[in-house]
Symmetry: none
Subunit: 537 residues, 2 copies
């Protein structure tokens, strides 16, 4: 039997201290449900004494019947006072949560500088506050703030604080590297000492200020800690908290510990991406285990080896964490990447044939011009379909014209497009926030009557990259566009010395890709189409 | 004396394997200069046998007289062949680089599965290839690919491969955790064994697939490695390479090793941000040491403690790595920087005055809208001059209009501007490669008759970054323009949801800045100006 590790998720509390992260009560409820399904053991929901949003969350979450223990966060009581008089402790015990985590000082420097009280009073604050929470019928956890810095400065005092928490009946004593400055060797040494001296269940809470939060957590587990506090995607103040999305799979797949079931682990990538969507924070493409590039292969040699045996360049089977292998196409890549891509799409490809030679040459030539297909799967797919006969030209562009006018400070943008669809010429005009938005609007207006499904498509990302910067405003630019229809997401590319033309190219590819397999609307008014084959807007 | 550690940067080679990273030869030259100033000891430039871009880079970089050793990358020779016949080894020795890194197999599984040759032939490939490079007069380094996986599978064979490299005279033998799946404890144990068995300088090269690349690098150093391969910002294939921006400060500030000078370490944040701009990859706000939020405090208890003593919530002094503290809720943040900037410019500033309050509020408001003055000194200077009375409005813009037309595939761009200069209204039209180039041409045409010195100014860089990517083509964009008059270089910024307007704003700032102190031409033809006060082009 493998040793179980208790997972304490603080995405909803410490995670929201991260810059740019702000969650509504509704967001928090959605995230709590996902965390519960993932199988974490504690969900720290927030500080019910601090704001109305957290109060609402605690009220709503009570109805959800979570498997995980919902936990409220607070501090030890104020100095020179009593728990009964402490309004924050009162809110905590009234929150309806099954457990409460109290943070307290263990670093003598902080007791003097931040709290400005005596070492003895701080010990009393720890003991009385935890006992107060426990007497209210809740489980009490102790977060030993700055424990490692405190231990290095005054080990006797830091250990005395832990003993007080144990005496008060804390269910877990959690050692916090609050400033994130401690190294794995120190963590290992100090946790080993604590486990020896304090006869209570020990936890670990680390921050990523040295890019060591994951390593520090693993070092604490190796030294005998059995409880981990962290956040999904490592959200948290400054450089973030320990990233549970990296810790859980490493503990479970590589170190023989048990955190969640294998089935739950297989949902990890989905949970991480869902929470990044709710938090409205772009997920780094290179995030370990769950990132979009975590099992993406770019180098030609790597790809040809991967096709022989994926273990050659993959440290785990991606599906164990719900992720998948991707083969990127780029100038560094050989022919094997492109052919495996075409095979993925179900196209009939003969690796030795003339056609394949031509396709590779065409892609190399486009890359030389500045196209980049690794971030533009859909443009690559269109190119391969055009070559191997898997696509149909459903519309053609005859011309477009855009105008941007600044008249005494009032700026307007307008686009006109002329498109042929199913033998009909369509002529539309639209305005927008800027020239590209106006073009997008005009093109959709031209096509929506034929393909009403286009209404469901929207653009989610637009990136402009200037190539050959030496030429400044006359330089080539590359535009990448990401689109979604709420089910799938795809990316397209355009390159030109004219930013409008490059954007247009990527826009047209995005729509062409969306139309693959989309039905033309049967209900379209024939009169509308027969106005001299020209529809004006 | 602290032990020196050799820093080998592979941003320009392994870093470009990262998804979304694509560098031109010009980008690579700029980055090489920054890395050299940072004080890294090796700069791996790329694979001179693989593509024309890398060949151009190696040609150009030869003229730069770098302190660092420029290094070319390649593989051991092909199986059952000779080094003399190997075209890639030939390119390597002709690259003009002072050193070459050769990657070779040390994992028996890879020799059989990927190379499909015998274990003996692979050892011969390693020995002969390194000796060949060394005989050509270059320093030879050996990258022992998959060394840790290889050692775990067949320690004798993995060590035999290292011995071959040593016999051939490799300057460094670098142990690679190519798949990024090894844990710090394993790294420590295996590197300790290697250091004991192989009497040669040992290096470490890790990947971040378990979010442990930094910890694994530090573990190898603790076990006796003395050379680190990594990239700026951790760029690299899949989850990236070991991040030098986290490793260098930890080794130097916390572990007592010596990598670069203290002064060079103080430029780290600037180097990291510069390279992220060149690579056009958004830097995660929470990146350790160098991220914008690395020393940002979000409020409440932390902020009040920080104001008592910053050591309470900061693991190092931010200026040691060129970063700074930010208090996200405090209105005091940044004020002293801005005022000292104005004083530098010789403006009369009263820090307590109403004016200063207004200026700070204006800058905060602009930053909130997406302006970024760190990369746009000239726009900040104009703003301060406008506020404190150090500038003169030499021209005003009345209106502009641009048109981009695609007629059956033929694209043209035209711009019209109406400007008032010295009481005269000037009305010009010009075309260009794209709308922004056309605007630039029309504005210069309007001003050159008054300020012939404008001919000497040209734009050297033009960057577009999309803010709020979720809104796609309706999102705000930030444009940064860099200009030069062959003596000085300056940068300006514009922000708008309209890429044309944002570009225009940055263009106008660039010209306004250039005109500070520039003489109006006395020789200008009076007739030209008096044509009804309106000059047509």
């Amino acid at each position: 039997m493998s040793t179980p590790i208790c997972i304490f998720d603080t995405t909803l509390r410490d995670g929201t201290q991260g810059e740019g992260i702000s969650l509504t009560a509704e967001d928090k409820v959605k995230i709590a449900l996902k965390l519960d399904a993932l199988g974490v053991h504690y969900i720290e929901g927030g500080n019910p004494g601090s704001n109305s949003k957290d109060i609402e969350f605690f009220r709503r979450v009570r109805e959800l019947k979570l498997q995980a223990k919902l936990t409220a966060f607070g501090s030890t009581r104020r100095k020179n006072s009593s728990c009964e008089q402490d309004i924050n402790l009162k809110h905590l015990t009234e929150s309806g949560a099954r457990a409460a985590t109290l943070v307290g000082k263990t670093w003598d420097f902080h007791v003097h500088t931040a709290l400005q009280t005596t070492l003895e009073e701080n010990l009393a604050m720890i003991h009385e506050s935890l006992a107060f929470v426990k007497n209210s019928g809740m489980e009490a956890l102790f977060d030993a703030e700055h424990f490692f810095d405190g231990y290095k400065a005054n080990p006797e005092y830091a250990l005395a604080a832990l003993s007080k928490a144990k005496e008060a009946g804390a269910a877990w004593i959690v050692l916090c590297d609050t400033n994130g400055g401690t190294l794995p060797g120190e963590i290992n040494e100090i946790v080993s000492r604590v486990v020896k001296e304090i006869d209570a269940p020990i936890g670990i809470h680390t921050h990523n200020d040295c890019e060591l939060a994951v390593a520090n957590t693993l070092a604490a587990i190796t030294a005998g800690a059995r409880h981990i506090q962290g956040t999904i995607n490592g959200y948290g103040e400054r450089c973030g908290n320990a990233n549970l999305c990296s810790i859980i799979p490493t503990l479970q797949l590589k170190m023989g510990y048990s955190c969640v079931t294998g089935e739950q682990l297989g949902t990890l990538t989905g949970v991480a991406r869902y929470i990044s969507e709710i938090a409205n924070v772009n997920m780094p493409v290179n995030q370990p285990y769950v990132g979009n590039a975590a099992f993406a292969h770019k180098g030609g040699i790597h790809v040809s080896a991967i096709m022989k045996d994926s273990k050659t360049y993959e440290h785990i089977e991606p599906s164990l964490v719900g992720n998948k292998q991707r083969v990127l196409v780029s100038e560094l890549a050989g022919q094997s990447n492109i052919l495996s891509k075409a095979q993925e799409m179900g196209l009939e490809v003969n690796a030795e044939g003339m056609k394949s030679r031509e396709v590779i040459d065409r892609i190399k030539d486009l890359e030389h011009q500045g196209y980049q297909f690794e971030g533009a799967d859909a443009s690559l797919e269109l190119l391969l379909r055009d070559a191997y006969g898997g696509s149909e030209q459903v519309f053609t562009i005859n011309s477009f014209k855009i105008t941007v006018e600044n008249n005494e400070g009032r700026v307007s943008s307008e686009a006109i497009v002329k498109v042929t669809v199913a033998g009909e010429q369509v002529y539309t005009v639209a305005n927008g926030n800027g020239p590209v938005n106006a073009l997008d609007n005009a093109l959709r207006k031209a096509l929506v009557q034929f393909f009403p499904g286009i209404r469901d498509i929207h653009l989610t990302d637009y990136k402009v990259r200037v190539l050959d910067e030496k030429d400044a405003t006359a330089a080539k630019v590359r535009v990448l566009i990401e689109s979604t229809n709420f089910k799938d997401t795809w990316s397209t590319v355009g390159v030109s010395s004219n930013v409008i033309e490059a954007s247009w190219e990527a826009l047209v590819d995005s729509i062409r890709y969306a139309l693959i397999g989309m039905d033309k609307d049967e209900d379209i008014s024939p009169e509308l189409l027969q106005t001299n084959g020209l529809v004006n807007h």
